[in-house]
């Protein structure tokens, strides 16, 4: 079938991709990770250490994707597999239509490693120049972009100082500048907020928000929950190499509570409600309303009871928990019984 006038080549390609077994939504996928695993062997005893086990997720175009987990969860190991620094033991990584080893894919990715290490004998301008040459950015554009990026991350004044004289926060900003040098479609940031003071954190948060406005996809790992909750559209929570939760924040934070909140008018006496089956707690709300927190399964029955008692239902909502509560419930509560693999060895290594 020939494309008609005015149809783009990509548009004409969609039916073909669908026919070939691809879902149309795949075109919006920036990263697809399927059953990714990495097993290390200890140096002498050759014991298996499963750093990452069967992790799967999809990152879509234009979203901020949070990769969450305590220290040693396998976040950095997963990111290293995404960036080609280590090879997976099993599973696949597909990014921007290719694999981590494809140079054309890497040219469209910006990466900030955790606690980045630099050539400390270089100035930030020289460092960005080296990387700009690797990216093949023409000299004039390279110069302009370096100046613009250093201004953006607040390092323009320090541009001629060698990196060995930089503070930790300044180095982190240099790392962010180099991650954005090639104007990437996908930005992978491993703990971008570590080492930054509150002002620096706010600036980086603002920068991430700006990048999203520019249409970039951001994949970032962190254990600073407030920042993840504020910035991310979707998250994966990883613990000891295993996915503990995945989805949009609203899905995760509401579904995980297992509770609903009923707001009912025309009822002021809460004493009788507290004893009802399924009610978690009950309190007055304003002058003639009550707020009842109940188990999700009991909400329909309670609504009926309230209506019979002459009340009016002002609203029924799934109760949201905080990301911190979700994180704690999915990770810390299982610390006392560590996950084991088939050979009975403890999962997870330090990152």
């Amino acid at each position: 079938m020939r494309s008609g006038p005015g149809r783009s080549a990509a548009h004409g390609l969609i039916p073909f991709l669908v026919a070939a077994g691809h879902r149309e939504a795949d075109l919006d996928e920036i990263i697809r990770v399927e059953n990714l695993s990495k097993t290390f062997r200890t140096p002498f005893r050759r014991k298996r250490v499963d750093a990452v086990s069967n992790v799967s997720f999809v990152v879509r175009r234009g979203e901020i994707f949070g990769f969450l987990g305590p220290n040693g969860a396998g976040k950095t190991t997963t990111i290293k597999m995404l960036t080609g620094l280590i090879q997976p033991t099993a599973g696949t990584v597909s990014m921007l239509g290719g694999g981590p080893a494809d140079l054309s894919v890497r040219a469209r990715i910006g990466f900030l490693p955790e606690q980045p290490y630099f050539y400390d004998y270089l100035t930030p301008v020289e460092l960005l120049d080296v990387f700009g040459r690797i990216f093949g950015i023409p000299a004039r554009i390279r110069k302009e972009r370096i100046e613009s990026l250093l201004t953006q991350v607040g390092l323009f004044e320090a541009r001629n100082r060698t990196l060995r004289k930089f503070s930790k926060g300044m180095l982190q900003r240099t790392g962010i500048a180099q991650a954005l040098l090639n104007d990437p479609e996908l930005v992978i940031l491993d703990e971008p907020l570590s080492g930054l003071d509150p002002v620096g954190r706010k600036e980086v948060n603002d920068l991430i928000a700006t990048l999203r406005q520019q249409g970039k996809t951001i994949f970032f790992s962190s254990h600073i929950l407030a920042d993840i909750e504020r910035l991310c559209d979707r998250v994966v929570i990883l613990d000891r190499g295993v996915t503990k939760a995945a989805g949009t924040l609203s899905e995760l934070l509401t579904s995980d509570s297992g509770e609903r909140e009923i707001l009912a008018g025309g009822i002021t006496d809460v004493s009788g409600l507290n004893g009802l089956d399924g009610v978690v707690r009950c309190e007055t709300y304003g002058t003639d309303a009550v707020r009842i927190v109940c188990e999700s399964a009991a909400s329909d029955r309670l609504v009926g009871t309230l209506l019979k008692a002459g009340g009016t239902i002002l609203g029924v909502n799934d109760r949201r928990i905080s990301l911190e509560q979700l994180f704690v419930s999915r990770t810390i509560r299982e610390k006392s019984c560590p996950a084991t693999d088939n050979e009975g060895e403890v999962r997870g290594v330090s990152e």
Binding site: F40, T77, K80, T83, G84, L85, I86, Q87, L103, S104, R106, A107, I109, F111, P113, P116, Y117, F118, Y119, Y121, L122, E126, V130, F131, R133, I134, F135, G136, T162, G175, Q178
Partner: protein, 269 residues
Amino acid sequence: MKNGLADSIRRTFAIARNTVLEAIRNRAFLGMGIAAFGLVVSSIALSSLAVRDQAERVLVDFGLAATSLMEIVIAITMGVILVFKEIDRKTFYLVLPKPIRRSEVIAGKFVGLLGVLGASLLLMAAGWLISLQVKGISIPAGVPQALLLVWAQAALITSVAIFFSSFASPVLSGVFTFGVFMVGSSVTVLQELMQARKGMLATPGPARLIAEGAVAVFPDLSVFNVGKELILRIPVTWEYVGASMLYCGFYCLFFLAIGALVFQRRDFS
């Protein structure tokens, strides 16, 4: 394809440029300058101690040998450290996810180190030639050829050092590379011993087998030593230099290719 090659060269030279910059910033050239000055002073002092009429011989022989040795020291020390340092300091975490092949990183390091070796060779050669001038000795005709061969030998040893450093620690890489240098420098001697009528290597046995293996595998570094020709004022032809460079190029490619292959499969965990 043409663009692919140009891109590959561009990326290789970006790494090479950084390697040279690192040597400059870490004051490696200051050390080389001091070594060159030391060469001038020690050459003049040694020639004063030489038996009459032997001053020229001492100056020419010592100067070339010292330059060659200095180049080998730089090649081994910098060669074994270059890759390891990037792994140890995790600076590769920033470089390798960029659109660059790991083989290009290895090649870039090698080319950069060739630049450093070339610059240090010029410094040392200047010191050597100054000492000849001070003593009123005419500069032998084959000096440019001899210096080029010294550089080629250092290049070969650099490739060996980079090969070992792609999988071993700096100390082990240094020991292995020095081993290759020692065996490579002794290939001619081994050949002579195997052709002799008597001796352990003259008769079939394990020792002869090992020696035959060493001669077949290790580069013959005597190819790059034209000290005798220089002293005796025997011309060193450019054809000989060209053939030696080809020989050097083959071994460099061999060691770098294996090094790149090992480096390619390496995990940076």
